[in-house]
């Protein structure tokens, strides 16, 4: 079996022309544009979920027309960063989903989740509120088994 590298000039027998390389560079630029759009979506989604995903890509030095190898490096870096951002977003989504399920269970059967807490931050919501299973009427509720879920009043006052 013979493996042919299309970018190795000595194996191309002169078939790779300047036009072909320009077309390759155009394709790479299109790929970069698509990846950048997807990465921007991930960053904005993470921000909406009040979290941060890493997104920085090292640039080359100063504006210039990049060659195939440099464009490939930018594309690969973007693809790698995008994959990382998606992994991060998936993990954030799963953690929020688990918190939501915990909250639903607390609401369904408060007595089985005594003093359990789920913060709004864990749910991907803003504010400092915390859902907590607490006894009604304090000690009386604790002894009588009257449990309910209360949402704390929010962020502490600034001092």
């Amino acid at each position: 079996m013979v493996l042919i590298d299309p970018y190795a000039q000595e194996l191309t027998l002169g078939l790779v022309t300047e036009t072909d390389e320009r077309a390759a560079r155009r394709t790479l630029r299109d790929q970069i544009a698509r990846l950048e759009a997807q990465l921007a979506d991930c960053v904005a989604t993470a921000f909406a979920a009040r979290d941060v995903v890493p997104f920085a890509i090292a640039g080359a030095h100063g504006p210039r027309v990049l060659g195939i190898a440099e464009l490939e490096r930018v594309r690969d870096d973007l693809a790698e960063r995008l994959a990382g951002a998606r992994r991060e977003l998936t993990a954030i989504g799963l953690a929020q989903e688990r918190a939501r399920v915990r909250l639903e269970r607390m609401l369904l059967a408060p007595g089985e989740h005594r003093f359990a807490r789920v913060s709004t931050a864990e749910l991907g919501e803003g504010g400092c509120g915390v859902y907590q299973v607490r006894p009604r009427l304090g000690l009386i509720g604790m002894l009588a088994g009257w449990w309910h879920v209360k949402l704390s009043s929010g962020c502490p006052l600034a001092t």
């Binding site: 950048e36 921000f47 090292a58 210039r64």
Partner: protein
């Protein structure tokens, strides 16, 4: 806007035009140096824009079509838009850091209004220092970029620059070189902007007219 010329297309080096066919430079001669201070109307517009802009908008900016197009172009020419920010994102960052779009003079305010309202950056040059029409090309070996302190930085061959017939005027998306920057002695100002793929003509025209309208009101 009587007495103000129509925007004109600058030239783009033939090889560069084949490589980046959607890159267009637009110029317009704006006129004499505007008043030192912005009009109350311009300052009010800056205030309104600042109050409508919040932290989340700075992140969402990268998803809007025009700022996104500049981000993509930055990547394609080897710039990292999170390191050297695109002009629209730079303006957004200034807004977040200073808590508002502070007025810095009529010309700066006009350019700021243009980029904040349209996402398209506009730069100003001293027209008297320019030799012929402006264009975009790669720097040639041995070309230099003069600094304000009298010294000069070498420009690596191939660095994309805005140039006139005499030589580079500014590095692409950078501030104009000291020799061509607008000073108090400037008598006539030429504005220019860069259109990249994904930015419609109407946005470019709007950016130039916004700057002209704010800096040189009728």
């Amino acid at each position: 806007m009587s007495g103000v010329a129509e925007p004109e297309r600058g030239w783009v080096d033939a090889e560069l035009a084949q490589e980046l066919p959607e890159l267009v430079l637009w110029t317009v001669v704006a006129g004499a140096q505007p008043a030192r201070r912005s009009s109350p109307e311009v300052r009010r517009r800056l205030g309104m824009l600042a109050s409508r802009f919040r932290g989340g908008d700075a992140v969402q900016l990268r998803r809007r079509p025009v700022p996104h197009a500049y981000r993509v172009f930055f990547r394609q020419i080897g710039l990292d838009p999170d390191d050297q920010r695109t002009p629209a994102e730079e303006a957004a960052m200034r807004r977040l850091i200073h808590g508002g779009f502070e007025s810095r003079g009529a010309l700066e305010d006009a350019l700021l209004l243009a980029v904040v309202e349209t996402g398209v950056p506009v730069w100003a040059l001293d027209d008297a220092t320019l030799d012929g029409p402006l264009g975009v090309r790669g720097a040639r070996a041995g070309e230099q970029r003069p600094r304000a302190d009298g010294f000069a930085d070498d420009l690596p061959a191939g660095r994309l620059v805005v140039a006139d017939a005499a030589g580079p005027v500014a590095v692409l998306f950078g501030e104009p070189d000291a020799r061509h920057a607008v000073t108090r002695r400037t008598e006539r100002i030429r504005l220019f902007t860069l259109q990249v793929g994904g930015v419609p003509d109407v946005h470019v025209e709007e950016a130039l007219w916004t700057a002209l309208d704010a800096g040189w009101p009728r």
